[in-house]
Symmetry: C2
Subunit: 345 residues, 2 copies
Amino acid sequence: MDAINRQWTLVKRPEGDDFAAALKWQETAKPVPADGQALVRTIYLSLDPANRLWMKDEPSYMPPVPLDGPMYGGIIGVVEASHTPDYAVGDIVTGLGGWSDYKVIVPGEMSKISPIPGVPLTAFISVLGATGLTAYFGLLDVGKPKAGETVVVSAAAGAVGSIVGQIAKIKGCHVIGIAGSAAKCAKLTGEWGFDAAINYRTEDVRARLAELAPARADGGGGVDVYFENVGGEIGNAVYENLAMRARVALCGMISQYNVVGQQTGADLSKILMRRATIEGFLILDYFSRAGEAVADLAKWVAAGQIRYDEDVIDGLENTLSAFERLFKPGGEHTGKLIVKVSALD
Amino acid sequence: MDAINRQWTLVKRPEGDDFAAALKWQETAKPVPADGQALVRTIYLSLDPANRLWMKDEPSYMPPVPLDGPMYGGIIGVVEASHTPDYAVGDIVTGLGGWSDYKVIVPGEMSKISPIPGVPLTAFISVLGATGLTAYFGLLDVGKPKAGETVVVSAAAGAVGSIVGQIAKIKGCHVIGIAGSAAKCAKLTGEWGFDAAINYRTEDVRARLAELAPARADGGGGVDVYFENVGGEIGNAVYENLAMRARVALCGMISQYNVVGQQTGADLSKILMRRATIEGFLILDYFSRAGEAVADLAKWVAAGQIRYDEDVIDGLENTLSAFERLFKPGGEHTGKLIVKVSALD
């Protein structure tokens, strides 16, 4: 990695899950920071379901990734050159980078990380980064679970879902995870301590939830908090089993991101009948409160109360195939998907 | 109406909108109240979209109407005989009755009405009854509009919708109604004072809302509060135009009640992106606070700030055809649909 900058360029908006046609490997000249800028070399690149939304030609919570530029992604990087007092060479930083070796940044664009002894650097884009914050604020601020309540999370073996379930356990809830393979379900109820797991590829989610969280004749029972990561039929199966005044924390709907044509909409009948609430949230809105989440998460990780998986792929050239795995239902990927782009030293 | 009791009996669960096959006209003996009971004669019967849900074979917010019994409906009646100190002959009462001449009730089953001089009795099942309360609490408690915000209501020329829009105007909001005919739209912006109306049968609701409540580049604009009465494609067109942190007060989804097979689900993409909330509510939960609503509503009606339509059909025998009109998209029915079953005196 010398004077060139390797990158995955978004050359067209992907159709469905045809990412191979949309992303092109290119090698360009290593950028040179101007006065007031710094050059960041990517160490770790975070791959997340939401990246798929950024590829679309419609503004979501940020503008679409421009065509013929590098695909965006959360990164951890190191400052390699700086012409601004805000960044010093050797600073470790995190923020929105690209699927590329290098990015030129301006002051304020990335935050500095102070490494914690004993904590791997990757944690700052997984459990102590946007992933952990999403789980933390989505569950606690939006879902507002009370001890003894039933919490359901979909994509439960994923980066966010696995942390949601463990936080819910810490808060004294009855936790049910939905995932796409027997191995994932075993992990949920084993290593991650969920009370129950449902394999949506072999079980009837609706019927299993009705058994695991039965609605009672007095109007009680059912799912009090649903942390929604997938949408579609799985989402509707959970909605069908909501408790009175249930809260749905709408984090994402990965099952719908690649759908071409008519998506599967949400059946709101029980939202009405059970006086329930669906609330969308984005972690962007919580960055100013990151400190409180990181303090709790770091404490729980140190105490062994939260375990997290990281699935680290080596080499920027493998980013595309790694990204494709994120969208493979029932695939064996668990936890946080990260690409190691370069070595820190 | 002597010693017989005419009633519409629910003989089967309706398929789609085939109410004629589900409801059968029957004449039975006039019931005789036992000790501790009273006999109520129906004066006015309220017809509401939610009645359709009660016909289904699934518990909603109340158990399904039993087969081979009278269809349920909100009524105003007069006590004709009483064997309980709780009701006196001549008392005017309101509560859940039947599509029938008579109902035997027990203490607590219906509430007494104290007629207000100059206010027609029908108002107690329209603007001062569940209809007005639904509009009042759904808009103000669930939707929480602030002055200057944009409020959209669907089925805007209906009993609830027309009151929602007028309350929103009283609260200083910019109000857009969606209805199914040019005549209804003219009424919305004329008599009822809405700022704008969209005819969903001739206009592209999505595009019109984007014009009437444009999202701005700074992230502002759009629909702040949506009072949802219809669901389906109209609901999705509004969801597409929601403002940041918009509130959807989910009152009903009349477009889906008669659907056989797959319903049109809600597209939650913008609920996520705009950090919006959908909250289901039922007026049942607000009956204990009826006093505050009735005080405001009565004041606004007296001041001419709220006008309400009542569409009073004469004769219990015409209930079925009147009910069918409720579900006719673009039909000319506006306001509250009421059947006059008998005279007060």
